[in-house]
Symmetry: C2
Subunit: 339 residues, 2 copies
C-alpha cells in the first residue's frame, strides 16, 4: 500500500489544491524488468498544469487518474539486474510515496552532487535552459537576451547562462522582490515587472538596440510585448506558455504573429529538452563546471512531504516560488548514492 | 510630366480603387548617377496593401504619398555609364509612367526570357517561393507540404517546386475553379477550399500523416487550422499574412501559438526573398531550367494600362486573380533587351 495523489476533478479556471485527492493504492507485484521505488524528491513544474488541458508531448491528465510527475527515487525492490536495490533513479515516478515502474523508463543518477540538483540544474530545468538557450537561441557575445518567468526554475538559469556567454540579460518576473534578486544575486543586467502598465516602455529602455534572443516561458501578453522589440533576424525560443496554463479558456495567440515573424525575419522554434538526450552528459558536465566555479547560482523552493504537493503546484502557478520547486518526500540523508 | 498614382487616403476597412488618385507630376531633372525610366510592367502584390498598415521591411505608405511598387522599365535618359539608354531595369519604380531614380537602386535585366517573368517566376514571386520553400522549409522527398494562397503568384510556384522535390503537395485556395486548376494543371495532389466549413476535417483527410512543411502566405484562421496538423519537428515558412492585410483591424494571432510550437517542436521562421540576394543568380538558373523542361507552369493575370493599377490590386486582394498579377504600362514589343 502506498499513498498517491489523484486528480479528482478537472480544474475549473485556476487550479485549487482540492482538485486533488490523496488515496491509498495497492502496489502491484514487481514483474520482470520492473523495480519498486521509494520516492525521495518530486519536481513541481508549471507543465504539470498544462497536462490537464489536453494532450501535449504526453497524454492528458484527466479527472480520476493518478498525478504524474518527475521524481527521484531509491530502488527498494528490484527484478532488473541493472537497477539493484539502493540505486537512485530519476523518471516519471508520479506524486506518490512508492511506485512500481519499468526499469528501462528510469535514468540512473550517479555522482556526488546534491540529489535534488538532478531534478533542477542538472535535470529538467538546467537542461531545458541549456539546450533551449544555446542550441535554439544561439546567443552571441554582446547580444541582448530577454527571458520571461526569469525567477522560475528554468528562467533563473537561462539568464545566468546568457551572462556566462557574454550577453546583456534582461529578465521579466512578477514582483519587486524577484527583480532585486535577479539583479543583485543572479547578475541580470535588468529585471522588469511583467505586470507593469509600462512594460512596453520599460522594455524599450532596457533594450535600446532591440532583442536578439527571447527565451519565452510564458506566451500570451508578454510574448506580445516583446515581439515588437525583436531585432531583424532575432530568435524566439518557445519553451512554455505558463500564462495560458492555469485556465480553462486559453487566449488566442499574440498580435504580431505571424506578421512580425515575417517582417523581422524571426525564427520561433519550440523544443522539449529530451530532444537533445544524446548530449545530456556533455551538458551536465559543463553545467557542473559552472556550479563548481560559482558562475551559476541555484535557488530551490522546497515543500516538505507528499501531503504538500498540490499546494506546491498552486504556489508555483501563483508566482509564489523562486527557482526550482521541489517536494521532499523522504529525507535525503538516509540515501546513499549509487555511483 | 508623368502620370503617377498617389494613395489619396488611408483605406477604411477594405481597399477601394478610389482610395487612389492619378495625378500629373513634374519629373525632376536627371542628376549624376540617376536615370529616367519609362515604365513597362508593374508588379501588383498583396504586400502593397500591407505597406499601408504601417512600417514593415519598408516605411509605411501614407495618405498623400506616391504609390511605390516593383516594376520593369526601360532607361530613356541616363547619367549613369553602367545604365545606358535602352537598358531594361527592375526595381521600386512606383505606380507611374516615368520615374527618375538612382541607378544603384536598379537591377539590370538580361537574357532572352519574356520580360514580365522578371517580376514573376524569375523575380520576386519565384525567388520568394524558391528560397522560402527550399531554404526555410527544407522539404524532403516524401514529406507533405501545404501551401496557402496556393493559386497566387508565389503559392502557385511553391507547390510546383515542392512537387519537383518529390513531396506530396496540398494547396489551400479560395474557389472551386482554382482548386481544379491546381490539381489538373499544376500537379497539386489535393487542393482544398480554405473557406470550407469542414477545413479541419478536409486537411486531416488530405494529410493523414500530418504536415511537415506549411508555407504560410495568409496567417489568421488558415494558419490556425493548419497548426494542429503539423507533425513533430515541422517547419512553418512565414511568408505573408494576406488574410490580415486588407483591413484596419487585424486579428490577434492564431490559437496554438506558441503552445503548439512548443509541444510539436515546430519552427516558424519569417523571411524576405532579398535576404538571399547573394544566391539570386543560381536560383534563377535553376528556375529557368524548370521552365525550359516544362516542370514549372506559370500563370499571369495582366491588367492593361496604368489606369487599371488600383483595380488590379483590389482584384488581387479579393481573390479574383490567379498566378502573377501584373499591369502592362507600355507595349513589351517595342523593347529591345539589354543583354
Amino acid at each position: 500500500v502506498s499513498r498517491a495523489w489523484f486528480l479528482a476533478r478537472a480544474p475549473q479556471g485556476r487550479l485549487r489544491a482540492d482538485d486533488f485527492e490523496l488515496r491509498d493504492v495497492d502496489l502491484p507485484p514487481v514483474a520482470e524488468n520492473e523495480v519498486r521505488c521509494e520516492l525521495l524528491w518530486l519536481s513541481i513544474d508549471a507543465a504539470n498544469r498544462a497536462w490537464m488541458q489536453g494532450a501535449t508531448y504526453r497524454s492528458a491528465v484527466t479527472a480520476g487518474t493518478p498525478m504524474p510527475g518527475l521524481g527521484l527515487g531509491r530502488v527498494v525492490e528490484s527484478r532488473s539486474p541493472s537497477h539493484p536495490v539502493g540505486t537512485i533513479v530519476a523518471g516519471d515516478l508520479g506524486w506518490r510515496e512508492q511506485c512500481v515502474v519499468e526499469a528501462d523508463d528510469l535514468e540512473v543518477v550517479r555522482g556526488t552532487r546534491p540529489l535534488p540538483e538532478h531534478l533542477g540544474v542538472l535535470g529538467v530545468s538546467g537542461l531545458t535552459a541549456y539546450f533551449g538557450l544555446l542550441r535554439i537561441g544561439d546567443p552571441q557575445p554582446g547580444e541582448t537576451v530577454v527571458v520571461s518567468a526569469a525567477a522560475g526554475a528554468t528562467g533563473s538559469l537561462v539568464g545566468q547562462m546568457a551572462r556566462i556567454r557574454g550577453c546583456r540579460v534582461v529578465g521579466l518576473c512578477g514582483s519587486p522582490a524577484k527583480q532585486r534578486w535577479l539583479e543583485d544575486r543572479l547578475g541580470y543586467d535588468v529585471a522588469l515587472d511583467h505586470r507593469s502598465d509600462t512594460l512596453a516602455a520599460d522594455l524599450k529602455a532596457a533594450c535600446p538596440d532591440g532583442v536578439d534572443v527571447y527565451f519565452d516561458n510564458v506566451g500570451g501578453p508578454v510574448l506580445e510585448g516583446v515581439l515588437p522589440r525583436m531585432r531583424v533576424g532575432g530568435r524566439i525560443v518557445c519553451c512554455g506558455v505558463i500564462s495560458q496554463y492555469d485556465t480553462d479558456s486559453p487566449r488566442p495567440g499574440p498580435a504580431g504573429v505571424p506578421g512580425l515573424i515575417v517582417t523581422r525575419r524571426l525564427t520561433m522554434r519550440g523544443f522539449i529538452y529530451t530532444d537533445f538526450q544524446a548530449e545530456f552528459d556533455a551538458a551536465q558536465t559543463e553545467i557542473a563546471g559552472w556550479l563548481d566555479d560559482g558562475s551559476l547560482q541555484v535557488a530551490q523552493h522546497v515543500a516538505e512531504g507528499l501531503d504538500r504537493a498540490p499546494d506546491a503546484l498552486v504556489d508555483l502557478l501563483a508566482g509564489a516560488t523562486r527557482g526550482k520547486c521541489l517536494v521532499r518526500i523522504a529525507p535525503e540523508t538516509v540515501v546513499a548514492h549509487a555511483g
